[in-house]
């Protein structure tokens, strides 16, 4: 990359040429239209009118810095990454201009410059490729699929299957209904429908008047909202069960009104 340095007419000046300033000014006009700093660099590199592989990175750095300077002067808010790039290019510039420091690690200025040139070339190549891709004949625009596809009729056949383990588990589940609950955690704060039903069966026989469902909630299940919720749900479900059995009647006068319950009078035997 001999020409890295050659096209900087003033050698090590950090000012930019008139040309660079003009380029910078032109860019400022639509800074919004750029897709980040690399895009700006690519556009700037075009002003050098050389093959991207022969672009002068040093000059590019100066052009870019001129662009950022110009933006600052015009009080144009540049996104942070534009400033990060400016800082990095300043660093690159110093590396390119100063003799290499043997104590310093990492890539040399020339390597960095070469990599930047590579990135620009690669980005340009991808843009060209994208343009070529979009210029191709496209399905639904230039060539077409069958407009009236004939669907394959899917005849579904279901085959059921089970393993012997399923069978054994199933049997174990039935034979140990009360004890065998391998996957259920015991939860103290859950009132089951069965528990509620048992309780209600005992109580309902005594209540001939309409009484709010909430009065059936067991002691100790009223204060804690969580416990109250589960108790209410279980008690409600149990009431429905009693109604279904013909042992109780249930009513609610309007939406969200209290739900009331009373014993159902047994019809006298004929």
């Amino acid at each position: 990359m001999d020409d890295l340095f050659s096209s900087d007419p003033r050698g090590r000046g950090d000012g930019a040429t008139v040309e660079d300033r003009l380029a910078a000014e032109a860019l400022i006009v639509d800074v919004e239209g750029f897709e980040g700093p690399l895009d700006v660099l690519l556009t700037l590199s075009r002003t050098q009118k050389v093959d991207l592989r022969r672009v002068s990175v040093l000059r590019l750095a100066q052009q870019y810095l001129a662009f950022v300077e110009k933006a600052k002067k015009l009080r144009i808010e540049l996104a942070a990454d534009y400033l990060v790039m400016a800082a990095w290019l300043t660093f690159l510039k110093s590396r390119l201009l100063l003799p290499p420091d043997p104590t310093e690690d990492g890539p040399t200025g020339e390597e960095l410059a070469a990599h930047l040139a590579f990135q620009l070339e690669r980005l340009q190549a991808m843009r060209d490729a994208a343009a070529q891709l979009m210029a191709r004949d496209q399905l639904g625009r230039d060539f077409f699929a069958r407009g009236l596809p004939e669907d394959v009729e899917r005849v579904r056949k279901v085959r059921y299957t089970a393993t012997i383990l399923d069978l054994m588990r199933g049997y174990a589940r039935i034979r140990t209904k009360d004890d065998f609950r391998p996957f259920v955690l015991d939860r103290d704060s859950i009132l089951t429908m069965e528990e509620a039903l048992e309780r209600m069966r005992g109580l309902i026989g005594f209540v001939g008047e309409w009484v709010d469902l909430s009065t059936y909630l067991p002691d100790g299940w009223v204060d804690d909202p969580k416990r109250r919720r589960t108790a209410t749900a279980a008690t409600f479900a149990a009431s429905l069960e009693l109604v279904k059995e013909g042992r109780a009647e249930i009513r609610q006068t309007e939406t969200f009104a209290p739900i009331q319950l009373r014993r159902r009078e047994r019809r006298r035997e004929p």
């Binding site: 699929a145 009236l148 899917r154 279901v158 012997i164 069978l167």
Partner: protein, 219 residues
């Protein structure tokens, strides 16, 4: 051929040759979402084309092929040749796990056969739907056994050879007992005392005996 558009009006350009017109009709019929009439074809094709003629050539070309140009009302479309309709059907086998109800019912039949429906319900604690039994009969995993010699002469169910084959059992007696289920970790250790499971019941078993399930564990 008919439908030739304005013969008198001379076109600036010659109409495409008929082979080219045939290609056009082919492409239009192929891509169109509906059958296309000759008038529509003519309207879409370059001036001077004779869609009817091109269509006639195209129909000829597709005679005996896998698809054909067919007439639908006064329009035309490509359709699969009728003798290849079988290719348009795809049988897909879907393997599904047996439902819990079916598995439990099946397990009870396997462990207690011959067993009546009432007995199954007694053991499961819930009613057994017709569908579940039908499904198992359908799969040929269970079949009807001898009728029970009790009032009502209820039918019994037993497992089939297919069932044994599927589960790799020589006989229903090979099914593991409760103690083995427990040893395999399938049973909670809180289970009641040990007991074996009867793998079959004699026909003289009375339905009345089914009252207490615990008896089933006592041998």
């Amino acid at each position: 051929m008919s439908h030739k558009p304005d013969d008198d009006e001379k076109s600036l350009f010659d109409a495409p040759v008929i082979g080219e017109q045939e290609r056009m009709v082919e492409a239009i019929l192929f891509a169109s979402q509906e059958p296309v009439t000759v008038a529509e074809l003519n309207a879409r094709m370059p001036h001077g084309c004779d869609a009817a003629e091109a269509l006639a050539y195209l129909r000829k070309r597709y005679e005996g092929r896998g698809v054909r140009v067919v007439r639908v009302g006064d329009a035309y479309a490509f359709r699969t040749a009728p003798d290849l309709a079988f290719l348009m059907q795809q049988e897909r086998e879907e393997v599904r796990k047996l439902s819990r109800a079916a598995i439990e019912t099946l397990a009870i039949i396997a462990y207690h056969q011959p067993v009546t429906r009432a007995e199954i319900e007694e053991i499961r604690g819930v009613t057994v739907s017709r569908g579940t039994i039908d499904q198992l009969l359908d799969m040929e995993w269970i079949r009807f056994g001898r009728r029970r010699m009790t009032p009502g002469r209820p039918v019994t169910f037993v497992v089939t050879q297919e069932f044994l084959d599927h589960f790799g059992l020589e006989s229903a007696r090979d099914l593991p007992g409760l103690s083995e289920l427990r040893a395999a970790g399938l049973l909670d250790s809180r289970m009641l005392g040990a007991g074996t499971i009867p793998t079959s019941r004699d026909e003289e078993d009375e339905e009345e005996e089914m009252a207490g399930q615990t008896e089933l564990f006592e041998d």
